[in-house]
């Protein structure tokens, strides 16, 4: 079960399991993000390369205007695959 919603401060809240069948929902939300944006992974249990690719696409688009995503509250498994992919070098992860 996956869910994505935006918090009162504009932060993007992910929860559940972000797999290849769910990426369009993420793309739909992130396409409207124009400024710096926090993506909160606190309730996200799992992500695969499909979800990581959507985040990368948004990061590349935002970087064109000097903006960026900030990814927070990853669990240790998700943090590890971001590291394996080298994504810890292209995202600010807290």
């Amino acid at each position: 079960m996956f869910d994505i919603r935006q918090g009162p401060g504009g932060e993007v809240l992910l929860s559940g399991r972000l797999d290849a069948a769910q990426v369009e929902r993420v793309r739909d939300v992130l396409k409207d993000v124009q400024g710096p944006c926090v993506v909160d992974f606190a309730a996200l249990d799992y992500i695969s390369s499909a979800g990581m690719g959507v985040l990368l696409g948004a990061q590349k688009r935002l970087s064109g205007s000097g903006q960026a995503l900030k990814l927070i509250n990853m669990n240790k498994h998700i943090r590890e695959i971001f590291r394996i992919a080298g994504f810890d070098k292209v995202f600010l992860i807290e």
Binding site: A20, A50, G53, K60
Partner: protein, 134 residues
């Protein structure tokens, strides 16, 4: 424990349930379950997107001694060896990166071995992961 899954993304949810049931029976630790889910999803979605072949993919999970063995079999698939893909340069800058291509890299890193063969007209991908408590 073996089961066939229709070759579409709607199968991901039942695939995760299948892995979760197996993990529960075998008391697999959380990190192993995460790795198996990731490896199976990446390889299964590749079979959905590419490779032609039958409309279903068989997934077999087994524990042999201290080793977890995963076998994905896709009858009639085109020959494509995912283990032959080049190494991904994970030091690339944001500008140099393109979405895609990272999935097989992750599979190779989270599992201990990944082997491919095309036998009896089927693509067969075998994954192993040591269950050493380490």
């Amino acid at each position: 424990m073996q089961r066939s899954f229709p070759k579409n993304l709607d199968s991901l949810e039942p695939l995760f349930t299948f892995v979760g049931d197996f993990a529960g029976r075998n008391r697999l630790e959380e990190g192993v379950v995460f790795a198996v889910n990731l490896a199976v999803e990446e390889l299964f979605t590749n079979m959905v997107k590419y490779g032609g072949g039958a409309d279903a993919v068989s997934v077999d999970l087994d524990v042999r001694g201290r080793e977890l063995v995963v076998l994905l079999v896709h009858p009639g698939a085109d020959e494509f060896d995912p283990t032959s893909a080049g190494e991904v340069d994970t030091d690339r800058s944001l500008d140099e990166r393109v979405p895609g291509g990272i999935g097989l890299h992750l599979v190779r890193r989270v599992m201990d071995t990944v082997t491919y063969e095309h036998r009896d007209g089927a693509a067969q991908i075998r994954l192993t992961k040591h269950l050493g408590g380490s």
